[in-house]
Amino acid sequence: MRFAFTDDQKLFAEGLRDLLDKECTPTHVRAAWDDGAGHDFTLWNHLAEMGVFGMLVPEAAGGLGGTEVDLVLLLEELGRAAVPGPVLETAAVVAPALGDAATVGTAVLDRSPYVPHAHVASLVLVPGGVVRADEASLTAVDSIDGGRRLFTVDAAVELFAYDEELAFDRGALAAAAYLVGLSERMIDVAAEYARQREQYGRPIGVNQAVKHLLADALLKVEFAKPTVYRAAWSVAEREPTRGRDVSMAKAFASDAAYRTSRSAMQVHGAIGYTWEADLQLWMKKAWALQRAWGDATFHRRRVAEAIL
C-alpha cells in the first residue's frame, strides 16, 4: 500500500506546468476562443512532443507505454491551464483505443448529441465504431466554453471493435482530473483577488464570509483529489471496482468544480460577471466538463448500482 505518485510522475507534471505557464496563458486561451477554432495548434505540437498523447500508447507503437496513473497528474495540469481543444479526448480515450498517438481524435460516448472538437479531429470514437470526421458533414453549435467547439456530425459509422466501457471510464476519469485542475486554478485566482482587492480600506480576504467561501471550495477539491487518483489506479490495474471508482471520482470532481466556480465568482464580485475577467476561461470549461462524460447525478447512480 503506497498512495502517492513517484518522483518521476511529479517531475513530468512539473515540466508540463512550466510549459503551460509559458505557452498556455489566459492570453493564449482567449486567442483560441477568438479565432474560431477553439484550438491551439502550436500548443498541440508542444504537447505531442512532450509525449502527452502517447502516454497510454505502447512503446512499440511510438508511445510512452505509461498508465492512467502516469497520465492523471498531466490531465490535472492541462485543466489548470484550461487547455483548449480535444486534449483529454485524444490523450485518455482515442490514442489508447487506437494504439496510436499521432491521430487527433475526439469521442462521444456519453449519449450527447454533440461531438466536441470535431472540426480539428480526424476521427471520432462513437459507440460501436468510428466516424471519419474529416469526411463528415459537420454543423456547428455554440458551446458555453469557447475552448470547446461542438458539432452535430452526419456520417456513417465504420465498425471498429474496442473496449467501450474502458474508453468511457478513461474519458470520465480524464474529465474528473481536468476538473480538479480547473478548480485548483479558480481557487488560486480567487484567493489572489481576495488578497488584492480592497474595500472599507482593507483587503476583502480579511472577512470571514470570504474566507469561508474559499475554505469550503478547497475542502471539496482536496477530498475529490484522492478519489480521482484512486480511480486512475483502478483503471490502470483493471480492478473489478473500476466503474464504481471512476464514477465516484467524476461525481466528486463535478460537484467540487461547480461549487468552486460559484465561490470564485462570488469572491470576484461584479468583475467576475464580466467577459474581461479571465475567471470565465476556467469557469466555463468547468461547466462544460461537469456534465460531459456523465454528470454527478449519472455517476452517483452508477455508484448506487454498484453498492446498493
Partner: protein, 384 residues
C-alpha cells in the same frame, strides 16, 4: 502507487480480526458516559492491553506494537468492523500519549505511558474555560510556583472536560506568567483529579449522560515534575496535541466507513426504493466516507515517507464532522416517525445523531477551522 496490501499487512489484519472476533463483547457496553459503562469500558481497555492492542501505534517499550500509521489504519478498520466498544481513554492514548512521546522527559514517559496504555489511569482533557472556548488563549486559570519551587499551585475553572467525571487524571494549560502576552506564559500541566482542592462537577450533555464536567481548582498543589514541555511553552505543546486531535489520530476513517455501511444496510432494509432523492443522498454519504478513507490513506503515505501535516488537518476535521452528521441525518430520515423514539429500534442512530452534533463544535469549531484554512493554507490576510 500501489493500493494493494502486502502479505505482511494482510497477516496483521488477520491477526487483529481473529483477536477481535474472540474478544469483543457480544452485547454492546452501556455508554462510557455512565458510571457502570465507564467501569466496563475500562475493563475492555485492560483486555485490549493484555492482547497488546490498546495502543498499536506506540513503541513496544510502552506497550504498543510499533505499528506505523498504515498498520494502525488496518487495525482501526478491523476494530470498527467488529463493532468493538468506544475508546474511553482516547484523550490519553491518542492525544496526550503522542504529546508525551514528543516533548516529555524520559521519567514522564516511564511514569505515564504504561498506565495510560493499560487504562489503569484514564485521562480527561481540561482545555476550555467559561470564557475561553474557541479563543483558547484567553484562559485565566493560573499556576504559581510554590515558594520552594517544587510545586505548582493551581487555581481557576475548566469546563467541557470530557470524561472528567470518572477519569483519574487530567491535562490542561494554566497561565503561569500573568505579565506575558496571551499566547506566552502558559504551561501544560498534568493533574491527578483526586488531588486536594480539585472539585469535579458533572454536566449533563444533550443526550442526558454526564460525559463532560467542570473542574474547579482551589490551591491545588502538583509537583513541577508534572509539567509537560518547558515552563511558559504550554501553548506550543497544546497546539501539538490539538494537531493530533484534528488530524488523523483521533478520527480514523474506519468509524465512518462502518457507519456508512450500516446506513446502506438500513436503506436496503427500510427505505422506499422509489425514493430516488433519498437513495442518491445515501450513496453520496457512502461516497464521502470512502473519500475520507482515501484522503487518509494519502495523508498517511505522506507521513510514513517523512512528510508532516499542518493546517491541512483542519480540512480533515471539517470533513469528518460534517459527514458524520450527514450519515446520521439520513439514517433518521429513513427511520421516519421512529426517529423520535429514544428507546426504539433506531436507538443507536438517535444516540449517534446527538453525538454527531458535537463534532462540528469540539476540537475547535468548524468556523475556526475554516479561518485556519483560509489564513494558513490559502494565505488570505488576517485581522477581520
Amino acid at each position: 502507487m500501489d493500493l494493494r496490501y502486502t502479505p505482511e499487512q494482510d497477516a496483521f489484519r488477520a491477526e487483529a480480526r481473529a483477536w477481535l472476533e474472540a474478544n469483543v463483547p457480544a452485547e454492546p457496553l452501556p455508554s462510557f458516559d455512565t458510571e457502570q459503562g465507564f467501569a466496563l469500558h475500562r475493563q475492555w481497555e485492560r483486555r485490549l492491553w493484555d492482547g497488546r492492542w490498546s495502543a498499536v501505534s506506540w513503541p513496544e517499550e510502552y506497550g504498543g506494537r510499533g505499528a506505523d500509521y498504515l498498520h494502525w489504519l488496518i487495525f482501526e478498520e478491523e476494530y470498527y468492523r467488529a463493532g468493538a466498544p468506544g475508546r474511553v481513554n482516547q484523550n490519553g492514548i491518542f492525544l496526550l500519549g503522542p504529546t508525551i512521546m514528543e516533548v516529555g522527559t524520559d521519567e514522564q514517559k516511564t511514569r505515564f505511558l504504561p498506565t495510560m496504555a493499560s487504562s489503569e489511569i484514564v485521562w480527561a482533557q481540561a482545555w476550555s474555560e467559561p470564557n475561553a472556548g474557541s479563543d483558547l488563549a484567553a484562559i485565566r486559570s493560573t499556576g504559581a510556583l510554590s515558594d520552594d519551587g517544587t510545586e505548582w499551585v493551581l487555581n481557576g475553572q475548566k469546563i467541557w472536560a470530557s470524561r472528567a467525571v470518572w477519569a483519574d487524571w487530567c491535562f490542561g494549560i494554566f497561565r503561569t506568567d500573568p505579565e506575558a502576552e496571551r499566547h506566552r506564559g502558559l504551561t501544560f500541566v498534568l493533574v491527578p483529579l483526586d488531588a486536594p482542592g480539585v472539585t469535579v462537577r458533572p454536566i449533563a450533555q444533550l443526550d442526558g449522560d454526564t460525559g463532560f464536567a467542570e473542574i474547579f481548582f482551589d490551591d491545588v498543589r502538583v509537583r513541577v515534575e508534572n509539567t509537560l514541555g518547558d515552563v511558559h511553552q504550554g501553548w506550543r505543546v497544546a497546539m501539538a496535541t490539538a494537531g493530533f486531535e484534528r488530524g488523523v489520530s483521533l478520527r480514523s476513517p474506519a468509524r465512518f466507513s462502518a457507519a456508512a455501511d450500516r446506513l446502506v444496510a438500513l436503506w436496503r432494509e427500510h427505505a422506499d426504493p422509489s425514493d430516488t432523492a433519498l437513495r442518491d443522498a445515501v450513496v453520496d454519504a457512502w461516497m464521502q466516507a470512502e473519500g475520507y478513507k482515501l484522503h487518509t490513506y494519502m495523508t498517511v503515505t505522506h507521513m510514513i515517507e517523512g512528510g508532516t501535516i499542518g493546517a491541512e488537518a483542519s480540512l480533515n476535521k471539517i470533513f469528518w464532522s460534517e459527514m458524520d452528521v450527514r450519515i446520521h441525518e439520513l439514517a433518521l430520515d429513513i427511520a421516519g416517525p421512529e426517529a423520535e423514539r429514544m428507546d426504539g429500534e433506531f436507538e443507536r442512530w438517535v444516540d449517534g445523531f446527538l453525538f454527531s452534533l458535537s463534532g462540528p463544535i469540539y476540537a475547535g469549531t468548524n468556523e475556526i477551522q475554516r479561518n485556519i484554512i483560509a489564513d494558513r493554507v490559502l494565505q488570505l490576510p488576517r485581522g477581520g
